[in-house]
Amino acid sequence: MKGSEIIVKALLEEKVEAVFGYPGGSVIPLFDKLYDYPQLNFYLVRHEQAAAHAADGYARATGKVGVCIATSGPGATNLTTGIATAYMDSIPMVAITGQVKSSLIGNDAFQEADVTGITRSISKHNYLVKNVKDLAPTIKEAFYLARSGRPGPVVIDVPVDIQLQEADFDYSGEIALRSYKPTVDGHPGQIKRALKLIRESRRPVIMIGGGVIISGAHEELRKFAEAINAPVTATLMGLGGFPEDHPLYLGMPGMHGTAYANLAITDSDLLITIGNRFDDRVTGKIDEFAPKARIIHVDIDPTSISKNIKVDVPIVGDARNILSEILATLTDGDKPDTTEWLAVVDGWKKKHPLTYDQKPDGYIKPQYVIRTLDELTSGEAVVVTEVGQNQMWSAQFYTFTKPRRFLSSGGLGTMGYGFPAAVGAAAVVRDRPVVCMAGDGSIQMNIQELATVATYNIPVKIVILNNHCLGMVRQWQELFYHRRYSGTPLKNPDFVKVADGYGVAASRVKDPGAVKDALRAMLDHNGPYVLEVEIEPEENVFPMVPAGEAINRMIGGMS
C-alpha cells in the first residue's frame, strides 16, 4: 500500500480517535487517505497552531497521545508553538508534517523548511522518513516515545514522494531502542532513605507537579498524604492531582500561590516533591526556597533532579510506582507526628485566605465569575485556560478535585493555547462541560477557531474575561513600571458580533447580579457558546511574589 495509507493504518493501530490538522501541498496524498477513514475523526482547524494545541488539549484531557497534521514549510512552522508548549509540559503528542519531495530537500524548494532542525530543541525526538519501508516502524516508535518515560511531542517529517511510494504495512515489529530505557521503579535504597527523612520530620510538606497527573498517581498520593498526615501543595501543572476540597490541601505554591502554601514551604523541615521540576515561578529566589527543609525529589526525568535545587534524596522513576512502593513499605513507626504543624498551617489558612470583594453594584470581579462557575458545575468541568490573569484566577478560584480537569500552558505560557486546546478536549470529552477561560487578549490569538467549533458543533463554552487590556502585563506595569501602560491597552472588537459572524451563540454580561444566570445559560446551551464578561479593568492577581523574590515575601492578599 501507499505510504499515505500506511500512516492512516498506523494511526488506527494506535487507536487514535481524533486527528487535528490542516492540508497543504505536501500532505495531499495523506489527506486523500484520511478521506477514506472517517473513524479517525479528522477535525479541520483554521490555523496549524490550533491543530497542535487541540492535539495537546485532547492529550491532557484523556491521557492519550494527541495527533496533529500539517503540510511542509509554513504549515510545519505554524505547529512549532504548539509543539514547544507540549514539550515544556510533558504532553504526549505525535505531529506529522509533510515535507517537499526527497529529491528537492535542501534546495530551498517551494514551502520547504528544515523541520527536523527547527523542532530539535522543542520536541522529545523527531524523524525525517527517507524510506517508505521505515514509515510504519517510525510511527510505532514515535508513539512509544511520546507516551513513555517523561512524555513529550515527537515530530515525523514525511516527504510527499514517500507518501506515494508502495510498501507492505507491518505494524507487528518490536520496538528495540538500546539507547532509551526510562527508569520507572524507584531505587529501594533511596526509598528507604526517604522513609527515614519522613520518620524524622515534624513539619513535612508534599509538593506535587504535573508528573502526578501524567502517571495517574492521584489515588496513591492521597493515601500517602493521609498516611503521613502532611499538607499538600500542587503547582499549576499539578492542580487536580490532589482533591482541593481536602483538609490537607494547601493550594498552589509560588508566584501566585496561596500565602499559606508559601509560608508552609518556607517553614517546612521536609519537602517531599513529586513530579515537579522546580520552575522559577514556583521557587522564587532559589537561595531562600525551603531553607529549613531537607528535600525528597521524585521524578521520572533524571535531568529534573538537582537542576535548580539541590536535593537530599532523589528518586528517579514513575510517580505512581514509587508512591505504591512507599505505601507498601511505610509502617506506623514511619509516620511523623504532625499535629502541631497542621495546627500552625491551619492558622495561616485562616489568617491569609484567598479573597476578593464582589460589590453588588460595582464591576464584576473575575474571581466571582470563576467561583460561580465552580458552584454551577460542582467543580466537575474541564477548565482550559489561556495565559495570564485568567489562568491564575482559574487556578486560584476553581475547585479542582480530580486530575485532567485543569488544562493550561504552564511551562511555555502560550497565549492562544486555551481555546484550541479546549476544542481538542471537547472533541472527546462529552460527559461534562469544557470551559475555556480566556482573556480579551489571548482569545484573539486563535479566535479563528470559532469556525472549527461552529463547523463540528463542538460544545466548548468560552468565557472571555474582558478587562480591555493585557491584564497580567498591565499588572506588572502598575506595580513595577510606574503605571506606564506600554502596549497593554486593547481596542477590542465586539466579541458577541464576532461570535455571531462565525455562527456561534454569544452574550455579554456587565452586571454582577446577572453573572450566575448568564453562566447557567451558557452551560445549558446545546453547542459552542461565547460569554463575554466585562470585568473590573484594574483587578490584579494576588498574592504575588515579585520575580526573583523569596516566596514568603508576597504582596497583596497578606492582610
Binding site: 532542525g117 525526538h125 539507547s179 535531568t303 538537582s306
Partner: protein
C-alpha cells in the same frame, strides 16, 4: 571552570551530531573540542567531547541531558579515570633561513613529521596527548604559526 572529557556512544544515524551540538548551544554549555567517528560496530559512533564546566552541577546536567537524547546510548565522564588520549595537529610554520634551526630543534624534541617544505614554509604533523600538544603549541608560538588545524581530542580508557 574545569575541563572534562566525556565519551558518548551514539547511534550512527543522520542528525545525531546536530542533536548533540544543538543541545550544547541551547543550554549554554561550552565545548572545547568534539571528535566523532564510527566505531568497530558501524551502527555506533563514538564522540569524545571536551567540555568546560563551571561547576559539578553543570557537569552533571550535561551528562544527564546527553543521556536524555534518544540517540545517545551511553555517556561516560572519563576525566578521573585512567585513559590514553591523543590529538592530531597539522601546523604550517615559517621554515626559512631564520627559523629552520629552531624548527629542527623542536623536531628533535617532539618527533613530528615535517613535510610539504616549499617557499620558506613547511607543514608539521604531530600526534600526542594533551600535555605534549599544549607544550608543542606554546613552543611553536615563539616561532610563529601561519595556520593551525587540530582534530580535537580522542581517548580510550586503559
Amino acid at each position: 571552570m574545569s575541563m572534562h572529557v566525556l565519551q558518548a556512544l551514539v547511534e550512527n544515524k543522520f542528525g545525531v551530531l546536530a542533536r548533540v551540538s544543538s543541545l550544547f548551544s541551547a543550554r549554554g554549555y561550552n565545548i572545547k573540542s568534539l571528535a566523532v567517528g564510527e566505531t568497530h560496530d558501524p551502527s555506533v559512533s563514538c564522540m569524545t567531547i571536551v567540555v568546560n564546566a563551571e561547576d559539578e552541577g553543570i557537569l552533571e546536567q550535561i551528562n544527564k541531558q546527553l543521556n536524555k537524547l534518544i540517540d545517545v546510548i551511553t555517556v561516560k565522564d572519563i576525566t578521573k579515570t585512567d585513559y590514553i588520549d591523543r590529538e592530531l595537529l597539522l601546523v604550517r610554520v615559517r621554515y626559512d633561513e631564520r627559523n629552520k634551526a629552531r624548527v629542527d630543534a623542536l623536531h628533535d624534541q617532539y618527533t613530528f613529521h615535517l613535510f610539504d617544505k616549499k617557499d620558506d614554509y613547511a607543514v608539521l604533523e604531530f600526534t600526542g596527548d594533551s600535555m605534549l600538544v599544549e607544550s608543542l603549541l606554546s613552543d611553536l608560538a615563539t616561532i610563529g604559526v601561519i595556520e593551525l588545524v587540530r582534530t580535537g581530542k580522542i581517548a580510550i580508557s586503559k
